[in-house]
Symmetry: D2
Subunit: 320 residues, 4 copies
């Protein structure tokens, strides 16, 4: 089988952990590198968390790269209200890791090198702020042209925010609006986004999640441990189901047919707003007659998604 | 029967004409004043158009007031691509009117006076940019508290724009964002908005509209005349049905039950964006814990709306 | 002697008090009205302070009008760090006044009426935020054309701010940037501004001020009383001399020759900045080839200014 | 003699050419690298121009690095009205150069490597937009701490713009405001800026320039050739003297005493303005109590500057 070659750019982060676990469990995927960026937590925490995930998943051989420590325009706001100080809820008992395993090459340089070595073959999965990708683009204007495609967790389709201060933007785009703008305008390869509204509109039964939380494999125990605190937030928000951000993006990257409804549209990013800074703005009626630059996934085949994610925690799920 | 006392603040405009015709035809409504504001076209055209409508509807006794000639922050952009230079498609054969019938009192002053004389009894219908209302508020901070309620055509629920340049805002709010901001933050009376997205999601069968366009009363002929050009635009946009803006707001003002789905929310207006300037931003998950300041109408009882609007063009519809 | 007919629009405020005292003391000036606006303090405090000043100066016959309670875009930030909660340093022993003396007509309406009754003869002195003038313009687009001229305390020539938060704008313009924008773009009559930088560059000897503070007429005692607290601020700021804002504007209105250096320039107001919102931006090299809309006073004949101001506190200075 | 080790980051550009020629002629300077960035013209033109200058100055051994092709937020506006399409006035007869001489390493990577190899010893001269430096900072947060100092052509002290559209910002900062913001906030080493206002206030006698233009060495002929067109612009602008941007920055980097007046201040960059986007905003009265992050050069020892610059064109000026 031809495996899909992946670079995963993440800010792990609880749902980044889920996404990476999914990717590693898939026999149809080959993870060439995991690159880390500041977002849910500081980049050093992200690096540590990725090493922990790789340890749990027995894939410590995958190279991990430290990327940007800040958004292009720094603001110092992480998502600690949800992911904890360290990005994985500040739990005790998570695996100890050797930070010397982090590569010395910068994430943006590594992206460029690996993509250059595998022209047209890499699927870039972006599940954090897009700072590393933006820097890769400034290092190499052709970076995007050398990708096969890019799947992004982020942005909006309906101006609905998920930032605590009530703004109209999604976290990853809001964290680094300039980077998101650069990626949408310049990446040039096929881009699929999974927006915050799509997250809200594709929720999963609590019962299904509970079954996963009760599995007792080591990966499942790690997963239920890091999920625990964040589930309280879901309770507080009174979501009707469990909302899945980053893992859905991995699923889209591996199986395009999991997207059952989408639209091709020209989209950009508001950089100047007070409430809408970082909002993805789509010309959904094509009033400007600009060719589409992005496919926005709207509906997901949830049965397939549940099947894919459940299989991560079965005994034989490992692709190694 | 107790009639609902109305002030209609408009920028007529084709759909303003429809809205005024609807209000004048209703036996349950009493139109105390029509105030004019710059928007779809310059305020002098708006005044002339209102007089034409009143002439056609045989209600020339209703006082008409000229209001603001510009948005607070002037930009000179009208909606002439849709409503024509004069706001009613630059047609020949529309009634001649005597501009001396326009009152000398400024619209914002008149609003304040009439509302002061009818404390707690006036429903303010806003179907143009909110400049006149904003100025009324600066003339009298208690203006809103003296209203019974206010129903507004305008704003967004999903960041979907209807401005030709692809921005993320609705025309009335985009035309004068500062005024919209002032109204949402300061009016204090119950406010219902009918957003652009609600317009899109509550469209009407073309067949139904065609039946109305074929009625041969004088009002119906006027109506079909002024509608003709704009229908070409609807064709170009490939809307699945006919979309009704301003008349729906009159219907909501008179019959609250016509709104079959709504949400109460704290909403404000983006003033600083490049693409989203004028966008209504709603804290739909109440992340900021601010009490709602607006009811956003989402779904309309379309059968009732069609019945109300059709009856305008029957012979005995006039409430006079 | 032909007296210059003045309307003084103020947010008194300590230096507004100085300005009004100067105007009232001048035999060449006739103050037709004092209009009040929110700025240094809330408009009700401003009204009370103006009545106090008129009482002290024995001119309680001059009509005082309450204007806007808020900037167009409300923010609730007054200049209480300098002027105290009540705008005159919260002192005891200031004259009691009868608030029923405040006219019922709104300041913006009164401006329009008085200017209409004295076409081409009124000099409008603006020593507070420009909200009242902006509303007057929306009530009557010809308001400015009916003025003789307008002299404004406000704006920048060098991007130098005087707001505590370090922004690049002058207080009056920063308090209501939209109003300042409207006035510069639409007033159409000759406008002279006295900017914050001009204040800084035209300071006065401390010794001269001390002599005035030691005069023992009732006006002088009132003046030294209300000045006392603010002088501590000047100390803290280590200004080389005493800086005079509002009274200079009155002097310019009455004697144009007091301006010894100025420039005619096209200037507008930044509305969108985070740090520079409210900054007056001048096209000083005329790169846009737009005709000047404002004369910016740069240098003042300080000897003349000192002479004019000193004479306020001499026994026979009253013009009554 | 201990030579000052320089990296020159430029967007050559006419005055960049002057600056590089000055640096190369100085016996007290060692140019380790010239890095190129998009600004006055596209980065490929900049690279070619730098090779031409090195050829003329007989220093083709100095490595030249191509950097960013666009500002972080791309806008595509170069300064071709002044520098011509190719950055050197589109002249015929300039030296042919071999573009293969451009290094393959990216400018931002090269900056980081060279600075890492010469910790604490490099003076970074920035005479173009700051995109390359910003990217270097995102590749290595400690980049600035490893510099000796940084001297920048750019920014404002008085809100005076030099962009054709009348905005309030200086070209280099306006071209990439986010990069300028990152540099001022994060570079951490001693920074000196030479602002546009300082350029205007430190002009040079036309007679002195004419003498240089009449020298007949090969460097002088190249210099007078590339200057010719731009001098017409100076005529059009009616500047009282010749204004020197980039070469002054080289002079400051080599001889700090050439700055005869300066101020240490906390400065940042307006990112959100419509007219003032890119304006350097200084808290000149330290109202925010933030420690200074920049020394703003205000006055230059012009005699010394003229002496330094004249010597470039004498026969024995070359430091090689
Ligand atoms: Ca993530
Ligand atoms: Ca309308
Ligand atoms: Ca004042
Ligand atoms: Ca340059």
């Amino acid at each position: 089988m031809d495996k899909t070659k992946l670079i995963i750019d993440c800010d792990a982060g609880i749902d980044d952990a889920q996404a990476i676990m999914l990717a590693l469990a898939r026999p149809d995927a080959e993870v060439l590198a995991i690159t880390c960026v500041s977002g849910n937590t500081e980049v050093d925490h992200v690096c540590r968390n990725v090493l922990r995930i790789l340890t749990i998943c027995d894939h410590i051989e995958i190279p991990v790269y430290r990327g940007c420590t800040k958004a292009l325009v720094d603001h110092g706001k992480h998502a600690k209200f949800y992911h904890g100080l360290d990005g994985l809820c500040d739990l005790k008992g998570l695996p100890e890791v050797d930070m010397n395993l982090i590569q010395t090459e910068h994430a943006s340089c590594a992206m460029n090198r690996i993509v250059g070595e595998n022209q047209g073959k890499i699927t870039l999965i972006c599940i954090g702020p897009l700072t590393n990708v933006a820097v890769a683009l400034r290092l190499n204007p052709d970076f995007g042209k050398q990708l096969k495609k890019c799947v992004i967790m982020g942005g909006n389709t309906e101006g609905q925010g998920n930032i605590e201060d009530g703004s109209a933007a999604e976290f990853n785009f809001h964290f680094d609006p300039e980077a998101a703008y650069m990626v949408l305008h310049e990446l040039s390869c096929p881009i699929t986004t999974f927006s915050w509204e799509a997250v809200l509109q594709n929720q999963y039964p609590w019962d299904w999640l509970k079954r996963i939380l009760n599995i007792k494999t080591s990966k499942a125990i790690f997963h239920s441990t890091i999920l625990r605190t964040s589930l309280d937030k879901h309770n507080e928000w009174q979501f009707p189901g469990y909302s899945f951000c980053d893992p859905t993006v991995v699923a889209i990257a591996l199986k395009e047919t999991i997207v059952t409804k989408s639209r091709d549209v020209f989209a950009t990013v508001e950089l100047q707003g007070r409430l809408s800074r970082g909002q993805m703005v789509s010309d959904s009626r094509n009033l400007q007659k600009t060719p589409p630059n992005v496919k926005q996934a709207l509906e997901i085949d949830r049965d397939l998604m549940m099947e894919m994610f459940s299989s991560v925690f079965e005994e034989r799920s490992d692709s190694k």
